[in-house]
Amino acid sequence: MLVLDWILIVVAGWLALGFAGIAALRNTAFVARVLFPAGAVLAAALAGLAAAALAGTPETAVLALGLPDLPFHLRLDGLSAFFLLVIGATSVGISVFAAGYFRHGEGTPPGLMCLEYHLFLASMAMVVLADDAYAFMVMWETMALSSFFLVTANHRVPAIREAGFLYLLIAHIGAIGILLCFGVLQANTGDYTFANMRAQSLSPLWASAAFLLATLGFGAKAGILPLHVWLPEAHPAAPSPVSALMSAVMLKTAIYGLLRVSFDLLGAQQWWWGVLLLAVGLATALYGVVFSAVQTDMKRLLAYSSIENIGLLFVGIGLGVLFNAYGMKALSALALTAALYHVLAHAFFKSLLFLATGSVLHSTGERSLGKLGGLMRRMPWVAWLSLVGVLASSGLPPFSGFVSEWLLLQSFLFTTGLPDSFLNMMVPVLAAGIALVAALAGYTMVKFFGVIFLGQPREPKLADAHPASPLERAGLVWLGAGCVLLGLFPVAAIGLIDPVTQLLVGGGIAETVRANGWLLLSPSSPERASYSPLVFLLVVSVAVLLAVVLVRKFYHGRLRRAPAWDCGYPAQTARMQDSAEGFGQPIRQIFEPFFRMRRELPSPFDAKPHYRVTIEDHFWHWLYLPVARLTAGIARGVGRLQQGRIAIYLLYSFVTLMVLLLVVKS
């Protein structure tokens, strides 16, 4: 049996679990204790199968589903296997967490939730397996619809319904882009299989059109500027496991689509595509991180942080396209490796953080950072595991985020040697933007962790916060372990990425990296650049241990607990801590042009002073509201035709007929 068949069995298993959920619609215990853990086991099986298929030869299958003469073509190659691995490995943790998370009292019954959830997982797996435009679009839409229903799980809240419709709208704008892109790619042959698209060689003009449509279509799903507005609305609205799945995995299917179209289906690339992706990616990353730093809702903060990470992925892919267009295979492979490493790293740390916010939300009922604080003592497991996610997300060594950041910066530094002297000059300078984004991400993450878990509880009710359930902890531990292992063993992880870059650009860095030993990560030679997370961790730990032991030995280990000193200030309350607004204040000041900001300041005579600051996205006012007004205007104009009287409609028919007759006559 082929690996592909086994993978299809896993997907069918997910669907079966979903329908079993329908059978036990309101049986929460059965759904949570049996179906979701079984889904996690299937996810683990999928990850294992995908890892086995990574380096294998491509396998194809034809499923007799769909329309009579349009069966589903499926294909499993290195690229799809890598993304299946991401889907499987991440959803193991998320499903285990979900088993402990979904309880009574939320809008959609648990059994239906289970169906939507597993349908969502299955459709994502099928998206990366699809080998013709028809199957791809069907699966893509299934993915969008199932996630829409998951986002609106708590559909009795109007704000959540609005968020869901916004998501659906932008998802469909993207779908139109993808559909048109496939239309261009098949080059009037009428054959929509990917094999036919690969065989076509488009003229540069049409190839660029296809590429731009793909960027628009997949960019809408990924959340690049200016199509990012649905992310900060939909992610907070969805239940946490769903936000985790959407942010960690679904956004990655858009990255998959972009890679599939721009590297695999389109043959020759043009250099300006890379520059476009670079510019869009950098703008998105900077925009996302600046907005992330000023958020006061913990899930919105993470949603903006996802926008930032998608931007970084686009930068990596852009560099890959740029190098590939000039035939620099090795450098292109390095940049793509950085991007794909970040796909893996982001999938783990972002789902970890989203799930942690879910635990906090369940335990306290609060999503606003201004009403949290001091949860480290109440929820130690969630806090320490979040710390791992926060450090990985800030791109700090020796965690996973740093490896991809390091590889990305290395690929920027290797750029000298591009044939175009202007690009040669500009590209290293863009690395400055990446450095700024990475540093700001650290700022945001310190705010996120510090305000939620450290300090004193800002509300009295936080004293009743209960720790996360064992299944929730187990899910978090799996994802946290992923962050640590990806950080410590980059050479092994690059071995997983190598088949993908071999497939996309015909080169890889794994051979060079392995030649330098498993301990040392070095993309060309150790003299040029090297990084060893294990040695790094070892030396810091040894220094820490030595410091502890020697201080004890030569001095003492005495410790006394006392009230906080705070410069001797006597009356302190928890309200005097820096709030999330306060922590974001320097960013609001420095990056003021980024925000559409309204401030209401109290006058000195107010008995009950209120300070209110509202921050909005410029793009709403620059792009979305004008388009919405225009649409509404056109609709009103068209509405005038609708008079509701049959005579008027007959007149319309008559006039149309006359005009047509005139046209035919002349």
């Binding site: 480290m376 060594p397 400055a432 540093a439 650290g442 790094f536 810091v540 410790l559 005097m576 306060g582």
Partner: protein, 315 residues
């Protein structure tokens, strides 16, 4: 990895641990002299450390373990930073473990932990300090990275040892990009080490303090470790600056005797650098907090210009 390399590595770390408080004392002494004050003794920082280590540690009642581990982590990070900065020799077994980018990450790791520790107690000053420290950090970090990139582009390597090896052991040449980068580096170092004009290490004035607000709740051995780590950071920054911009005298690989010559060279360079630092601190006034972003943005732009100059002129 050679025995000589291992020896040089150990010597570099031990020398850094031992000499770092001395450098701080030297800068303080010169600062006092330049300001017409009577200076504390050169060994004053050692006495302070000894006193603090002897004292009992007082920890706030609701402090979490993060508060207690942060000083150790900061100390460990700075020890590694001193280990990979090519102070004496470029033949360092630890050098491949962390290159210039990882070094910036290392400083960031220490900064994140000490900021989290400051937020842990939940006092108004602590969180204020954490916010300001992270503000300075996120502005300084890219600038530092760009400075290191300018040097990397010249030498085609991000390994600090290789950069110094290439810059020091080749015919004398003046790189315009490095000159600009040097200015940026000085500005970043002032900010990162909590020096005037960005911060004043000797103030407890609530409106202006940054670094002191962070470590306000620390006492006893924890405070001693933080102070020691701060002087190690100053030492590491000075050594990196010296290695990048005045790299002469650092021993090449496979020349054990040159290490003996490198030690007095290092001491002389550090002494001169310390006097210059004291001079900068004396002739500048501390700026308002909201001028700091401008200051650091200037450093960032200078570093980017250095990069551009290198690409344009090829030097």
């Amino acid at each position: 990895m050679s025995i000589v390399g291992l020896f040089a590595q150990l010597l570099a770390v031990i020398l850094a641990l031992a000499l770092a408080p001395l450098l701080t004392g030297w800068v303080n002494q010169w600062r006092a002299w330049l300001q017409n004050r009577r200076a504390p003794g050169l060994l004053q920082p050692y006495c302070v450390l000894h006193k603090l280590f002897n004292k009992e540690s007082v920890v706030a009642e609701h402090a979490s373990p993060i508060f207690r581990v942060a000083p150790y982590i900061m100390f460990g990070c700075m020890a590694l930073a001193c280990g990979i900065a090519p102070t004496l020799s470029t033949d360092l077994p630890l050098a491949p473990a962390a290159d210039a980018i990882a070094l910036v990450g290392l400083f960031a790791l220490a900064r994140v932990f000490i900021s989290l520790a400051a937020m842990d107690i939940g006092t108004s000053f602590g969180t204020l300090g954490a916010r300001r420290e992270m503000l300075i950090g996120f502005l300084a970090e890219p600038a530092l990275l760009m400075v290191l990139f300018s040097a990397s582009l010249i030498t085609q390597s991000t390994s600090l040892a290789m950069i110094v090896e290439t810059l020091a052991h080749q015919p004398f040449a003046i790189y315009p990009s490095l000159a600009v980068a040097g200015v940026a580096f000085t500005m970043v170092s002032l900010a990162e080490n909590a020096r005037v004009p960005v911060d004043n290490p000797a103030t407890h004035l609530e409106l202006t303090m940054i670094h002191e607000a962070l470590i306000l709740e620390y006492s006893g051995r924890h405070l001693a470790l933080v102070e020691w780590a701060a002087s190690l950071k100053l030492f590491a920054y000075s050594c990196i600056g010296l290695a990048l911009f005045v790299p002469w005298g650092v021993a090449e690989a496979g020349t054990p005797l040159a290490i003996l010559f490198a030690i007095p060279m290092l001491v002389v360079k550090l002494a001169v650098g310390g006097v210059l630092l004291a001079l900068i601190e004396t002739i500048n006034a501390k700026m308002r907090l909201f001028r700091v972003p401008e200051f650091l943005a200037t450093a960032f732009l200078l570093a980017v210009i250095a990069l551009l100059v290198h690409v344009l002129l090829g030097a």
